[in-house]
Amino acid sequence: MTPLIELNSITRLYGTVIGVNDITLTLPPGAYGLLGPNGAGKSTLLNLMTGQLSPTLGTVQVLGHAPRNNPKYLSRIGYLPASEGLYSNVSAIDWVSYLVELQGFGRRGARTIASESLERVGMTEHMHRNIAEYSRGMRQRTRLAQAIAHRPEFLILDEPFNGLDPIARHQMTELLRRWIEEGHSLILASHVLHEIESITRSFLLVCGGRLLASGSIEDIDELLADVPSEMRIRTGTPHELASVLMQEELVDRAEIGEDGAVVVATRTAVRVYQFLTDSAAAGRFEVTEIHSSDESLQGVFDSLMKLHRGEL
């Protein structure tokens, strides 16, 4: 089977700035989340996949094609960019029909296809109104309609949930789930973990232009199993708590932060949570706040970056 994506030691430089740094990857057809903080290199990777950029070093193959200036390849993909870029004085049906025509369809056929696609994203009622009158959610749905209208084999989405309210997010999630269920491939870039988690369990984690990890959430958890995670615990008796946590060998390191909170590094976060719950129940320590910085995606990335550099 032809791999969906085949990246071979690709590096992309913007002058002296590295956008993507020596990434090698082969993925079979399927649904993937491309996860990374802002500026991680996600959009650069997607630009390489859509053929808008060519790699400075290495080779890119998607669906068995080199993407750059390749009409055959471009007829097989759909792309939703992160930037909005809609014409204000045009209706959704005119705009999507126009883009479908550029995909190689005839005028009438394009109109029908565009109409069906807009119906699919729930825009039938509004498709004859000017885009300038649309809400953010409606614009996002219109943008998605242009990406899926021509029934591409591979959908490339860059931050599709940006600016959507909870209802619109749910609708978008459902739509993408259906897309996957129909057997299509997609790659979805986001800097928010749960957005991707709601659609696929396969991740690519990028940070600093590098591919830090790939696989399922369980694979990444396993990778981070031995990596100490950091917790901040706010209590009225920080010194006592820090001392007990060290004595009980629940933490590798404990210190008192500038704000008076206990900052600990632990490889057994679950045991620490259990200890704190039991202690609070027994009235031993009064814990007012627990915050695990590693719960945030940035924490995961920081840990992975350290792991990548051999610092952990």
Binding site: N47, Q52, G85, Y87, D94, E101, G104, Q146
Partner: protein, 273 residues
Amino acid sequence: MNAIRGVSAVFRFEWKRSFSVPRMVWWFLLTSFPPALFGMIRLLIDRPSAGSSGADAMEFTIPIGVTILCPGVVCIMGVFLWATPAITSELQGQSWVYLAVRPHGATSVLLGKYLVAATWTLPAGLIASALSVLILAPEDPGRLVWVQWRLVLLSCLSYAAVFTLIGVVFTRRTLAVGICYVIFVEVFLSMIPAVVNSFTIQFRLRCLFVRWMGWNEPGFSDMPMAQPFQAYFGNESDWWHLGMLLGTTAALLVAATLILGRRQFTTSAETDA
């Protein structure tokens, strides 16, 4: 086939978009400017009596005036404002990415917008020159209108190609570069009586204008008023100049297409990478 379909789609879409109030106002101003100016001149200046030296001079000044304003100012301004920002407007509006990821998308947009620039300006030039000739009422209005219309068509096609190329090469300060090009190349360089002026569009248009007006023919060419046009008489035929002009236009479009195909624009900032 897909590329032709793409060009046709862009052409129709952009034409439809052009029916906006600001663009229609601009088109109307462009079209009415030469007739309005010539109308005021007619009102303010008395026409010299037939057979006087003034009347002979009018035989040259009327066609020159119409040529400067219609195939010149109207066509240049019209295609300049359409063709020069063809790509940069898409980049700045961040809409380029939707077009660039379509098969032959970039080429379709380039050529489609080129055709829109030329065909949007063409009626303005045709109407402006016809009305101007009607107002100025020269001796042979039919001939002058026919000459002007051919020049308007050529001017629209060739200048649109020049500005399209400028728009592809300079994605920043595009309009400023376009204005500099018009001033330094099409105005100053085309005036220099040396081989260098043959590289300008203006030179070819002037050569065709002089020939189609018959000013290089005996009887006209020896008149004192025809002397400034000696530089455009040359030995080349009309077809040579026509071929050069259309050949240059095609070459400019091919160059623009090739350059655009090599350029890489990122989606984040939509700037050249």
